[in-house]
C-alpha cells in the first residue's frame, strides 16, 4: 500500500528530522513506529499526510508518487487517510456529531446518508448518543479520542495514521483505544501508529519500525 524511499527532512537550523528512511507497508497491516522523543516519528507521519514536504525521497501510495501531487490531487489523497493525534485535533466550536460528519461533507458524501453513517460510527467507537450534541471541551480525554477515531474512520479510508493516540490517556483508556484500533484493523484498514509507549508494543505485538535520530534502526515483525 505504501512504499517510502530514502525520505529525508531537515528543519531550519540544520535539525535533521529524518535521513534516508525507507520501508513499505502492505494493505491491511498494523504498524507501530516507535523511538525516543525527537526520533522523527511525527515528522514521518506528517510527511505521509503531506502536511510537510520532504527534502528528498519519495512516498508511493497505492502506486502513485504522492510527493509530486498538485494541490487538487493532495485534497483528494488526504480524503483517503484518517488521522488521530495525541491532542485529538477536534474543532471545539462544532458538536461531536458535526466533527465526525466533517470528512463526509468534505468528500461530498450524500447529505441524506450523513446522519445515519455518523451515528453508526459513533456507536461503533462506544460513544453514548447523549454526547452527540455536546461540544468537545465538555468531554473527557477518552471520549474526545473516541470522537477523533470516529472521525478518522467515518469515510472508510484505506489508511489510518495515528500519532501518539494514547499519549494523553490513562492505562485503562489506552487499552480501550488500542483495542478499538485493533478492531478497525480487523476490518482490513491499514494502520500506522506512532508511539513511544513500549508497553503497548509489547502487549499488541504488531510489526514495529524503530526510529532513532531520524534513521530506521530496526524493523521487527511478530
Amino acid at each position: 500500500m505504501i512504499q517510502v524511499y530514502g525520505l529525508s527532512k531537515t528543519y531550519p537550523g540544520g535539525i535533521k528530522a529524518l535521513e534516508g528512511v525507507s520501508f513499505s507497508v502492505n494493505k491491511g497491516e498494523f504498524v507501530f513506529v516507535t523511538g525516543p522523543s525527537g526520533a522523527g516519528k511525527t515528522t514521518l507521519l506528517r510527511l505521509i499526510l503531506l502536511a510537510e514536504k520532504p527534502d528528498r525521497g519519495e512516498i508511493i501510495f497505492e502506486g502513485v508518487n504522492i510527493t509530486r501531487l498538485g494541490r487538487k490531487a493532495i485534497h483528494q489523497f488526504r480524503r483517503k487517510i484518517g488521522f488521530v493525534f495525541q491532542d485529538f485535533k477536534l474543532i471545539p466550536r462544532l458538536t461531536v456529531f458535526e466533527n465526525v460528519a466533517l470528512p463526509l461533507e468534505i468528500s461530498g458524501y450524500p447529505l441524506k446518508k450523513v446522519k445515519k453513517r455518523v451515528e453508526q460510527v459513533l456507536m461503533l467507537v462506544g460513544l453514548d448518543n447523549k454526547l452527540f450534541n455536546q461540544l468537545p471541551p465538555a468531554l473527557s480525554g477518552g471520549e474526545q479520542q473516541r470522537v477523533a477515531i470516529a472521525r478518522a474512520i467515518v469515510s472508510n479510508p484505506p489508511l489510518i495514521i495515528a500519532d501518539e493516540p494514547t499519549g494523553n490517556l490513562d492505562p485503562d483508556l489506552t487499552v480501550e483505544i488500542m483495542n478499538l484500533f485493533d478492531k478497525i484493523n480487523l476490518t482490513g484498514t491499514t494502520l500506522i501508529v506512532a508511539t513511544h509507549d513500549r508497553s503497548i508494543i509489547e502487549r499488541y505485538r504488531k510489526r514495529t519500525i524503530f526510529l532513532h535520530k531520524g534513521r530506521i534502526v530496526g524493523d521487527e515483525r511478530f
Binding site: 499526510l49 502536511a51 494541490r71 487538487k72 493532495i74 485534497h75 483528494q76 489523497f77 488526504r78 480524503r79 483517503k80 488521522f83 485535533k89 477536534l90 474543532i91 466550536r93 462544532l94 458535526e98 460528519a101 466533517l102 470528512p103 461533507e105 468534505i106 468528500s107
Partner: protein
C-alpha cells in the same frame, strides 16, 4: 456548510468592530452623496426656471420688433416669447424697487431698453443654452442677450468637481472597506488557523475553507453599508430640521438618497467586503 458554522460560532468582537468601522466610513460617503444629489436638485430647479432676456436696440419700428419675435419663435427650444416695452420695464423696475426709489419716478423711459422675454420648452444644458444665446445675439436688432448662464456654468463646474471628489471618495471607501474586512477576517483566520489546518488535513478544498470567509466579508460589508444608510437618514432628518424656514422656498424639495444610490452603496459594501474576505485568506494555502 460546516466551514461557515465554524466561522459564525467564533468570537464576534472583531466582526462587530469591522462592521462599525465600515459603517462609519460609509456614513461619511453617504452624507457627501446626499449633499451632491440635493445640490443637483437645486441646479435642476434653477434650470427649469431659466429665462432668456433679449435687450433690443432703441427706437426699433413695430414691424422690426415683430420680425425679431418671429425669428425667435422659430428656434425649436423656445416655447413662449413676450415683448416688454421700455415703459413696462420702467414700471416693473419701480414696482420691484418699492420705497427705495421714491422721488425718482421721473427717470427717462429711454434709460430702460425694450426687451423680449423668452421661455424655454424644457431645461437646456449649459452648452445648449450658450449656443441658443449666441444665435439670438446674431439676430439684427438684438443688442444683448442675458440668460444667467455664468451662474449655471459655475454651478455645473462645482457639481462636476464634487462628482470627481465623489469618485475619489468612492474608490477610497472601496479600499477602506476592503482593508477593514481583510484585516478583521485575517484576525479571525489566524484565530482559526489550527482548525483550518485540521480541515486541510481532512482534504478540504480551498473553496471549502475560503468560501465562508468571503461570505463573511460580504456580510460585514453589506451590514456596514446598511448601518451607514440608517445613520445618514438620521443625519439627513436632523439637518433638514435645522434649515431656517425662510430658506425653504428657494430650495427644491430636499430628498434622501434615491433607491438607485442606496442600492449602489449596498452593492459597494457587499462587493468590497467580499474581496476583503478573499484577501484575508490569500497566501494561506498549504
Amino acid at each position: 456548510m460546516r466551514g461557515f458554522k465554524i466561522l459564525r460560532r467564533s468570537s464576534k468582537g472583531p466582526q462587530i468592530v469591522g462592521i462599525l468601522t465600515i459603517g462609519l466610513a460609509f456614513t461619511i460617503f453617504s452624507v457627501f452623496l446626499l449633499g451632491i444629489e440635493n445640490f443637483q436638485g437645486i441646479i435642476s430647479k434653477w434650470q427649469q426656471g431659466i429665462e432668456i432676456l433679449c435687450y433690443l436696440e432703441p427706437d426699433l419700428p413695430d414691424f422690426k420688433i415683430k420680425e425679431i419675435l418671429d425669428r425667435i419663435k422659430n428656434e425649436p427650444p423656445i416655447s413662449e416669447t413676450k415683448y416688454v416695452s421700455s415703459k413696462e420695464v420702467k414700471e416693473e423696475f419701480l414696482k420691484e424697487a418699492g420705497n427705495l426709489l421714491q422721488g425718482f419716478e421721473d427717470f427717462e423711459e429711454e434709460l430702460f431698453p425694450n426687451l423680449i422675454e423668452v421661455k424655454l420648452k424644457k431645461p437646456l444644458t449649459v452648452q445648449e443654452l450658450k449656443a441658443l444665446a449666441l444665435r439670438l445675439q446674431d439676430i439684427p436688432g438684438i443688442r444683448e442677450v442675458q440668460y444667467g448662464g455664468k451662474w449655471l456654468e459655475r454651478a455645473y463646474e462645482s457639481l462636476n468637481f464634487l462628482k470627481g471628489l465623489l469618485l475619489v471618495g468612492g474608490l477610497l471607501l472601496f479600499g477602506i472597506t476592503l482593508f477593514i474586512s481583510a484585516n478583521t477576517l485575517k484576525l479571525v483566520f489566524y484565530q482559526r488557523k489550527e482548525e483550518i489546518e485540521i480541515l486541510r488535513l481532512m482534504g478540504a478544498s480551498e473553496s471549502f475553507i475560503k468560501t465562508p470567509f468571503i461570505l463573511e466579508g460580504a456580510f460585514q460589508g453589506a451590514l456596514g453599508a446598511i448601518l451607514s444608510l440608517a445613520l445618514s437618514y438620521l443625519i439627513f432628518g436632523f439637518l433638514h430640521s435645522k434649515i431656517p424656514i425662510w430658506v425653504l422656498p428657494y430650495l427644491p424639495e430636499l430628498k434622501f438618497l434615491s433607491l438607485k444610490t442606496m442600492l449602489s452603496i449596498l452593492g459597494l459594501g457587499l462587493f468590497s467586503g467580499m474581496i476583503g474576505g478573499w484577501v484575508s485568506c490569500v497566501g494561506s494555502s498549504s
